[in-house]
Amino acid sequence: MHNALFHISKRRELPWYSAWGIRGAAIVLALVVCAIVTALATGLNPLAVYGTMFQGAFGTTRRVWILLQNLAILLCISLAVTPAFKMRFWNIGAEGQVLIGGLATAACMILLGGKLPNGLLILIMLLAAVAAGAVWAMIPAIFKARWNTNETLFTLMMNYVATQLVAFFVIVWESPKGSGKIGIINQNTEAGWLPQLAGQKYLLNIVVVAVLTVAMYVYLNYTKHGYEISVVGESERTARYVGVKVGRVIIRTLCLSGAVCGIAGLLLVGGTDHTVTTSIADGRGFTAVMVSWLAKFNPIGMVFASFLIVFLGRGASEISTIYGLNHSFGDILTGIILFFIIGSEFFITYRLSFRKKEV
């Protein structure tokens, strides 16, 4: 019998400094690999490329605001999917839940804009967005709770339904006719536009998401609901045994999950873009899944994970502009970095033991 070259065993809990040491090493390694790829593939100086990425993310005050705004939206969606994931309910329908929340917001702005006082309109938009997102998430939850349907497929397919609904209403409300776009809603009256805090376009979104982050942290860690979620996540049978009404927890949690997605839709449509398109969520409903997992469902960790992803995206966009490279090159670098970071979690959880030399 041949001995395996190495074998893998689960580690005991690593002290925090070793875990972060491994993560730091992974980032350094990722940067080295990216530098080699950059130098070989483009002939550019990798350090200059990294400098440009920083410029793209932090170069001006406006860029910092844009970075924070993008971070806020991604974080908001990541917070939304987390309670469901913690419960081992694979909600990959955030994209659709954000879209439907955005669609509800846009509907209020278009149909009620100018007919109601702005404060009341915004309140209705909030209720509509939250309700729409919650309903969109609750439908698969009810099916799961009642008939144990597969939630991964169900939530995924709800995304397509939402996308098609948005596409349909874009045609209904398009302006000018035939153009396939709604354009900025109420550009002259600004009816239904969320107010600006301190004259800053993006500050309101950032504040709302900051509050949500803390609230979600408290909800998951210090409330009875949060505890029930982790019990159901650990084992449904145990949960049932100790008297948790599993079906009710599933529906309630998904309701919350969808509602927060609805808020993300509201912030996008009412707060920044003031329009709705099928691409308004821009894949962030799926990126959020990665953020949530990278942060191991810890809302505070998600701040860093979202920051990393948004930073890489903004930086990648800048290097494609400055060096005239295709956008895909930035995506390649992002992919390498994420690969190493996700890979490092493997080494934090498991130990590789190499075969000792036989003398």
């Binding site: 406006r62 844009i66 396939g180 776009k181 354009g183 900025i184 966009s317 502009t321």
Partner: protein, 434 residues
Amino acid sequence: MKKLASAILAATLAVGLFAGCGGSAGTSSGSASSSTGSTSNSSSTTTTTTTGGATEGSTPAAAADLKVGFICLHDENSTYDLNFINSAKAACATLGIPESNYFIRTNIPETAACYDAAAELADAGCAYIFADSFGHEDYMIQAAKEFPNVQFAHATGTRAHTEGLSNYHNAFASIYDGRYLAGIAAGLKLKEMIDAGEFTAEEAKMGYVGAYTYAEVISGYTSFYLGAKSIVPEVTMDVTFTGSWYDETAEKEGANNLINAGCKLISQHADSMGAPTACESAGIPDVSYNGSTVDACPNTFIVSSRIDWAPYFEYSIGAVMRGESFDTDWCGSLETGSVALTAVNEKAAAPGTQEAIDAARAELIAGTRHVFDVSTFTVNGEHLDTFAPGAATDGTFDPSTPIVYDGYLHESDYRSAPYLDITIDGINLLDTRF
């Protein structure tokens, strides 16, 4: 066994790595040579523009320090955006703007991201910012209001002439002339196939893959159809819509459906390679748009019309350079060089195509022939004498504007963005849901 497997694995990885390097090394050397090309270009032209600036007397931005920005919906993989990118680079080279002073932002969606991109370019010191996609317009106007000292220009938009902003501009071109000429090439190809006995004139049906039921698309396919009809009077055309400006799968599928429904020739107004490649694999001739697709489709590509944006960029950026104002709503034409046709692919086109195009082109320029000559087409069996475009409903068009007179429909004379949006006889819309 294990060792062998790992050796093979290592070898594949190594080969893959080197293959990757080889490919990209090619592109990098290409871009390096292009950059040196434009630097030498700029040094030669900077002198001319500075002397030009000196005669102006004021303090216009010299070529060396004028910064300009371009916002593109997609990147160079889209034929539409590639056309803008090439024109922008060419115009900057002509004007002597060095590569470090113009910024091309690609993959900017039609959302607040467009406003952000415009604002960032303004922050970076750009005096002129251009956006290429229709849906960018609202966000460009938003930015124009916030940066009154920056000139904003937008292709295909409709709002500049009614918005009342001195620093916001629209531009387009009478691309219907180009479509018409491309239609003549299509007609000649059909005629060749009819003469060869492949099908009868009554069976001569063309297919067209459009994006939306939007005036720009309708005006485009109508002029294309009229061009073909001027050669084969019996020709008909089926039109399908994809509901997206760029959806390679939908465009390919649309073209295949048209081919299966018996269309003998395909053209398209959507921006991916979907329709041209579908034609190449089915062996059906294709009249392309936005630029030549001959490299990917050597056997079926006939000709392509496109808007050459370089004349507009040279005109508008040149004006900014000299500190002058420029048109709020500009419409390029065959004369300005904005409406261009690619070289005819002799392999696929009927003989005499180039000559026929040249002759018709001369007549269009001379004004002795008009694309929308109302005697050449009917709507519900009748010749048009008045026409109120649907564009009138969007507030950027005065519905009382007379459009049909002197025997033809005056497209793009009252607003650069097309407004012809009726279905003429002989054109059959397969779906109108977009």
